[in-house]
Symmetry: C2
Subunit: 491 residues, 2 copies
């Protein structure tokens, strides 16, 4: 079918340009000269304008109209679905509104950074109100009469609605607050002592990356302020960071990003630079980073192996057994900050944001009341008060840059990771014996073959169901957490 | 004038995209994972297709037709000239021919590398014949009835013809062969002994870059197989290389690339991402790299300072005086390879290529006869025979990738550097006293203010004439070389 072939050829170039734009982002965070920021903004804007013109090109609409879906096989139909989704979305948002959002969020991000530094929510509230108003307008344009928040969520997690998440998270919240309270009633495990050479951290971090299957022939590891994974296909790069007092930050950031990167590296060669050649959603992506980091990387078995590696690299650091090391890796303690939270409390931070941002989008919560609503909810779930806005409502950049519908994909990823882990344990009965030798081959191979290789062929819930054998729900994650932390804390 | 404003806005985005494509090239040579080459080729092709579409966009033609040049000031007229030149050129070459050249040169580059390894010109000759035939076709399309070689030259050196170069180079050749013969009759100066720590080379190389005014806030230095400079404006990166036996390779490659990079960094802020925001031609660019490297960097005064730096960095390396060090830096010896040649012999290598490639383009020389023609000419100028094709006709990549008209800009750059250096000495009477302290501020400041800051505002010959005070010719370069090498070799 000529229309379909032409559409795919056009999209191939668009995908390649998208990779180039992504590489510019990597460059900016790792190697760009500090004085190049202004010029880089112009270069990024130029790439964005080219990409936007291609995504909304009327030729794409003509090709789409000329294709008979009944003639397509499964792979072709999935390609068509992804292209159509991108085209429809890009065309639903008026260009003026998109430009206004770009301008206002650029200002808002700067104001957010200043307000966070000054611990002053009132200084940020007016510009956030502008962002919220514009995003609601965008959401309405996308929703075409439907639910605004669902339309935004669809950008990050196609096929999942706010109501789906509400049901899932509603089951998580009481179970997690109860588990948290039970754990914090017990004595805290021992922490690490001493200082950890940063070059040695980076060496062990590279070993970990390779142990988890990251292919350095198609990637690289650099240092950056915030760890991230970037790119698809044959060039998937990750970053990490070091803190001399806290080697776990480096090691588990690395394993987390390796989870993201392996998903991209392991997609079927046949989908390279096609609409299927990327991870299918934020939630499924996060399921890979989380299962690598937590269910595998923080397991009793794997931490036993890691303990030996760390003793070799750093000598004595005040922990004298594998069990004590396992407890230190999985230590639960009070804290305000989402990105520093442990497996038990992390989702409580996310659930809070999900409820608040959904209320902002529906109009049930006004921006001026957001700080108080945050603080009330935090105290209800965590049992103590937020001490200052930078430890509360101002801690995350997301809302300032207009990301609404993004936060819940973090917890959805954890839920998906729980489902996948349950199935993985069934498929690899001697998993612990392998992990205890630092060998993740069977585990990561199972994830590659059952999930990663498919890229965007299947929709998010569909791929989780295919891989795990049943419809995704929060029970496996909860069972895993209860079992794991009951063991560590002797609950 | 709306047409002019629209044209400039459109061109601004094109310039920004050009910078992005250039950065991809930098990435490929420095940090790209080795397995990413195939995907990168797709990404580069996507960028090229976008850039080509913009350069040939009929809107540009409409805008150009709607502008009355009489209403423009000097800067505006120069911008119009540059845009028009690019538009006319891009539109003169049929898209099919451009695509065919891209395909054939891609194959030819691979065949050249194999043939060079196998020392077998006959294995390369057939594909080179294809390249030559296609480039002649392209040249004819560009020339529109005029001289094919002049049309190609115009790509790299607007306003200079083959006849101009023939006259200039005709004066150089006998003078250089005579100077070379006189030098090689004398005893060779002492060379360096010992091994030079590569990390220490890179440290001193960074010091040299900063001594010559390279701004690391808007650039960076990495290692690469071939040194190069990349980018314009606020992000101009260079690469260098190290050889434990030959620190001069690292130091003078660095200074050379710093000359290119400073030209780009020092262009007037007002021209950023405009058609004037780049060096105006290959020849003028090479004049900057060469005057930094040779007239300044290899001067008796500056090498005196460098000798002290090298003693501090490396201890004893078998040279016991500044004079002996100066002679070692400027040592002239027999050799086959252009890129390894000294100041005296370098241009003889280039002149040979200029005459041969001009004959290939005119049809006076057939590709099967190229090897014999090369070898005859080499023996005539250098006095000994080429021992194998990899030391002769197969040594450079240029022709395999279709670069005809490029080689002579190397020597033109040396000629221009000679003119500029004569004027610079007049303008900075105590130049040697400054260079002897490792201080290039006055010299590089003079080049910045008289040449570099103008970017592409003036045409190549015009900017050299403005800066040096007279029409460019080979005499200053010859006088400089005779004076310098008569001193070193006591001719």
């Amino acid at each position: 079918m000529p229309a379909f072939d032409d559409l795919l050829a056009f999209d191939h170039t668009t995908q390649a340009l998208g990779q180039v734009a992504g590489r510019l982002g990597w460059d900016q965070e790792t190697v760009m000269p500090r004085g190049a920021a202004d010029q880089r903004a112009e270069e990024m804007a130029a790439m964005e304008s080219v990409l936007h013109a291609r995504r909304t090109d009327p030729k794409v609409g003509d090709w789409l109209a000329g294709i008979d879906p009944a003639t397509l096989n499964e792979v072709e139909a999935a390609k068509l679905r992804e292209i159509k989704r991108s085209y429809d979305r890009a065309n639903r948002v008026p260009a003026d509104l998109a430009a206004q959002i770009a301008r206002v969020t650029s200002t808002a991000q700067g104001k957010w950074a200043e307000a966070r530094k000054a611990d002053d929510y009132a200084a940020f509230s007016p510009v956030l109100a502008e962002v919220v108003s514009l995003k609601r307008e965008e959401g309405a344009a996308l929703a075409g009469g439907g639910d605004i928040y669902d339309a935004m969520l669809d950008d990050y997690e196609p096929g999942t609605t706010g109501a789906d998440l509400e049901a899932m998270f509603g089951a998580l919240r009481p179970a997690l607050t109860n588990l948290r309270a039970a754990i914090l009633d017990k004595p805290a495990p021992q922490g690490l002592t001493g200082s950890f050479d940063e070059a040695a951290q980076l060496r062990l971090s590279a070993t970990l990356a390779q142990r988890f299957g990251y292919d350095l022939g198609h990637g690289r590891i650099d240092k950056a302020v915030h760890p991230f994974s970037s790119g698809s296909g044959r060039d998937v790069r990750i970053t990490t960071r070091t803190n001399p007092d806290d080697p776990f930050n480096c090691f588990y950031s690395t394993i987390h990003e390796v989870g993201h990167a392996c998903y991209e590296q392991n997609i079927d060669d046949a989908y390279l630079l096609s609409p299927l050649g990327r991870g299918v959603s934020m939630g499924v992506h996060e399921s890979q980073s989380r299962i690598y980091e937590n269910q595998l990387g923080r397991s009793r078995a794997f931490t036993g192996w890691l303990y030996g590696q760390m003793r070799d690299a750093f000598g004595d650091f005040g922990i004298d057994s594998e069990d004590a090391f396992y407890a230190a890796v999985n230590r639960v303690s009070n804290g305000y900050i989402r990105t520093e939270a442990d497996e038990v409390q992390y989702n409580l931070h996310v659930l809070l944001r999900f409820d608040l941002e959904r209320a902002l989008m529906s109009g049930d919560l006004g921006v001026p009341d957001l700080e108080a609503a945050w603080n009330d909810r935090f105290e209800a779930d965590f049992g103590y008060a937020v001490d200052r806005p930078s430890n509360g409502v101002l801690q995350d950049v997301h809302w300032s840059v207009g990301l609404f519908g993004y936060f819940p994909t973090y917890s959805l990823g954890n839920v998906y990771a729980g489902c996948l882990y349950e199935a993985l344990r069934g498929a690899v009965p001697d998993l612990d014996a392998q992990l205890a030798k630092g060998d993740t081959t069977s585990a990561t191979g199972w994830l590659r073959d059952n999930l990663q290789k498919h890229g965007s062929l299947y929709q998010p819930r569909e791929i989780i169901e295919r891989a795990s054998g049943s419809a995704p729900g929060p029970e496996p994650l909860l069972a895993y957490l209860k079992d794991k932390f009951s063991g560590i804390y002797k609950l």
